[in-house]
């Protein structure tokens, strides 16, 4: 964009949106300059203003306004950045080359729920929590419960191929899409797929899903819903080690059983979690499991989501800073003094000596009769694989606190440390390799723990949480970048995927060529076909764009 006529742009935008749904105020531009990418938070904590800001933010209420702004942007060659809840953790919504940020949050109608078809029609800007509550009220669930659910949108989910905590049963969002309404870079409204797959041709739905605003903007979607669950069953198990835990999970999912959620925590994750809120053992009186209620079953009210202090994120950060954590063998801890590699090794050792094993949390939900049968088969399968049943409490405890973690990060950054998560995935035959390679790669720079979640018949995702610390922002960023570089390279080396559900954005763009190699040609071709002028979210996802 060269020689931008700011006044003219404002006039043109106001002609489309009226004066109240266009903003060029500094506070708005600063707000929309970033999402929740932790690297930007490191920068932000020092008070550095964002290097890239949009020229303007607009809030369309109707698809025709989106068409109008795309046409305007096309004529004037202005970049467009779609923006949902701003909860992305990869910088996908950063206006790298300025332009107009299109906030979808005023397009937020759940237009219909077609009970016979089990399909709903929903606008892209609807907040995840409100979407799920409105469905619940009608007796349905979409089944996508990301920990960002309180601050992310349906459109953001679709644009990034998001996953919720119950993805083993319901799938990721891309598994639940019947069709999308998209305004493409040509300024046309298209509907990908009809009410069915009766239509021949490639799947435009699956091309647009995950394109993170680089091909166009999703304005609404036909999504598959399920009847709200009548029954929810949770259980905690302990198992010898990660390898045994993974074998047990694989047995369950490959038998055709579909628990809603399975989580296996590695040694450090198990240890930190059992000192915080996940183990309702002797010191913590067991709470009765909540009775599932159709009206409020799926989502806890906001205050309940906060676990007792301190949570495991805080504990991980304390470890990164070389501080002891109550109950974690103070002397040994202090000896480590922030040397992450040592801490990581130490915990492996402590764990093996203590023979605590790994914690596995599993939950099933769904129609009453079938869920009961599946639960019995699932628990029997786990026990046959050597897992020891620890009763309902560890499972319900996870369930109650499952949204807590994401909202605990900001104080960590204010304290001079940083924390982030890396979610990779691989087929079962490579999963242990992936775990060890990535853990080693991250462990050179930071304290790292992991759990395995999102299990499928052919593989599983690994969720690494790491915390680091440096005296200033520049050094923090250097360590942070090194962690990602080494982690992504390790992932690609063993044949895993660099992202299971957080997306690519800016963070993983440099690794897209390694991820897809020559197959990027198809993505590049789709980019040219849907957004010939390259106005949509430029500079993201490793796309080269049209050769100059």
């Amino acid at each position: 964009m060269h020689a931008l006529d700011a006044d003219r742009l404002q006039r043109d935008l106001e002609a489309i949106f009226g004066p109240r749904r266009v903003s060029t105020r500094a506070v708005d531009l600063e707000t929309y300059a970033r999402d929740m990418w932790p690297r930007l938070l490191i920068e932000h904590r020092d008070g550095t203003p964002a290097p890239q800001r949009p020229y303007a933010v607009v809030w369309p209420e109707h698809v025709r306004e989106v068409v109008a702004v795309v046409k305007l942007a096309r004529e004037q060659r202005i970049p467009l950045v779609p923006y949902g809840g701003g909860s992305g953790v990869c910088g996908g919504a950063v206006p790298l080359r300025g332009g107009i940020t299109i906030d979808t949050k005023r397009m937020q109608q759940l237009r219909s729920v077609h009970a016979d078809e089990l399909i709903c029609d929903v606008e892209a800007g609807l907040n995840g929590e409100r979407f799920e509550r409105e469905l619940e009220r009608r007796g349905y669930t979409f089944g996508n419960f990301p920990s960002s659910i309180y601050c992310s949108t349906v459109g953001g989910w679709l644009a990034t191929r998001a996953a919720g905590q119950l993805s083993t049963k319901y799938g990721k969002v891309e598994d639940r899409v019947a069709g999308l309404t998209v305004v493409t870079g040509r300024g046309e409204v298209i509907e990908t797929d009809g009410p069915s797959r009766a239509l021949r041709g490639p799947s435009w739905t699956q091309l647009v899903c995950g394109s993170e605003g680089t091909l166009g903007i999703i304005t609404s979607a036909r999504l598959r819903v399920s009847p709200a669950p009548q029954l929810r069953v949770f259980r905690g198990f302990d198992i010898e080690d990660i390898a045994a835990g993974l074998a047990a999970i694989r047995r369950v999912v490959q038998k055709g059983l579909r628990p809603a959620v399975v989580r296996l925590y590695d040694e450090l994750d198990t240890l930190l979690n059992s000192f915080s809120h996940h183990d309702a053992s002797a010191e913590e009186p067991a709470l009765p499991p909540p009775v599932p209620q159709l009206a409020t079953g799926a989502l806890p009210a906001w205050p309940d989501a906060q676990p007792p202090e301190p949570g495991f994120v805080e504990k991980l950060v304390m470890l990164a800073k070389g501080k002891g954590v109550a109950g974690l063998r103070d002397t040994a801890m202090k000896a480590a003094l922030g040397q992450s590699e040592l801490v990581n090794k130490l915990f492996g050792a402590v764990e093996r000596v203590a023979r605590r094993g790994c914690r596995l949390v599993i939950g099933l939900e769904g129609a009453r009769i079938r869920t009961e049968v599946e639960a019995a088969l699932t628990f029997a399968e786990l026990e046959a694989a050597g897992a020891r049943d620890r009763g309902e409490d560890p499972g319900w405890s996870w369930y109650r606190h499952r949204y807590a973690v994401s909202y605990r990060m900001s104080p960590v950054f204010r304290g001079g440390a940083f924390v982030d998560t890396m979610e990779v995935a691989a087929s079962w035959d490579r999963l242990l390799d992936l775990y060890h390679s990535v853990r080693t790669a991250i462990g050179r720079h930071a304290v790292v723990m992991a759990h395995f979640s999102h299990a499928y018949p052919d593989g599983c995702s690994i969720y690494f949480t790491f915390a680091g610390q440096a005296p200033d922002a520049a050094q923090s960023e250097r360590i942070y970048d090194a962690i990602w570089r080494d982690g992504m390279e390790a992932t690609t080396r063993v044949g895993g995927t660099i992202s299971h559900h957080h997306g690519v954005g800016l963070l993983k763009a440099p690794y897209m060529a390694g991820e897809h190699r020559e197959a990027m040609a198809i993505f590049e071709a789709a980019k040219l076909a849907l957004d010939p002028d390259g106005i949509f979210n430029p500079g993201k996802m490793g796309l080269r764009g049209r050769a100059k």
Partner: protein, 407 residues
Amino acid sequence: MNLAAELATVVGAEHVEELVDPPGLRVSPGSAPEVAEVIRRAGAAGAAVHPVGAGGRPTRVERDPRGERQRVYISTARLDQVVQLDEQSLLVHVQAGLTGLELERILAPRGLSIGDYPPVVLNSSLGGIIAVRTPGKSSARHGFFEEAVVGVSAVLADGRTVHTRVAPRRSTGPDLARALCGSEGTIGFITSAVLRIHAKPEARLVASFVLPSVDAAIAAVYLALREEAAPSGLRIYDAIETAVHFPGARLEPGEALLVAATAGPTDLAACDRDLIASAVIAEGGRTGDHGLAEQWWKRLHAGVATPGPQPSLQIMATPSKLRPVYHAAIARAAELGHTASAHISRFDPDGGLVFITSDAPLAELERAAEGAGGYLLGARAHKLDGYLRALRDVLDPNRIMNPGTLS
């Protein structure tokens, strides 16, 4: 050197054949690199390439929008190898020319299975099953066939080979494999695919039920599916078709026969069967002759011929449209003075297929079914044609990849 001779140097003279009707060359490469070389040379010679699957012959030859030019039919007949079987992840990497049933025969002795898809679908080459998107390539138990595709290898118009990478799920941009699935050879020539497979189920159960009407049978099916039954097969016959397919079965006029198969761990297979039985009771039905269900399953899977004529029409309908589509087609035939019968099967999350058998004029039945909200096979989303054209302009500017198709 003419193209035939040139291609003979790539694949061997015995694998190049001159076709008369339709005119062209049929080439059978023995490997993916040979496919790439054939496409490269055909493109350089200004010829068009068309994929040919297990049938061995080009079935539908579309007019070439850029004017007639030499056609090279590339057969996948020799691409019939299992490249890798990963029994730990339940993934198989298989070449495009192997049929689904052939793959099933390879997997069966290892206690594995491609899954409970309709055998008639699996009788095609896997490349063809994946490359052409039509309804009914699905299973109530496993979902749509294309969802079993984890990765695809394909040759693009310029002879480049792309391999989409394998992961259980990913969040790294569009699903590039799904651009190739359904593209009918216009974006790339599929040489192999990585598919999700399944452990052979511990138990298989079948059952039959009689319902007061086709409507009640459809209602019972959806009641059971909502309670999360995941049967491996379901079919509803109206009374006329029941009499043809199962001589000796006694149904009152207007009644319907529902046959069901379930599979999985024994308790789960029994649970699913019982959920269907329970839904049948709710809709006023009763348990039917077990032998009918066994007969149905055997015919479906052991290649035993079904009595009676082949269905004249298949219509896809979403769950709420199955009833109107069925009734519209039957009523239209009656208006025209013909009898018509139907069965409904291939239930999946999108809906199901209504198979009409009648000697009434086909176009009339089609119009009635479409008017009631059904989709004829081969329907397309023409509004997106411009985007496919643009995609092909980038990858295949000379339009050598199956020209005329999807345009």
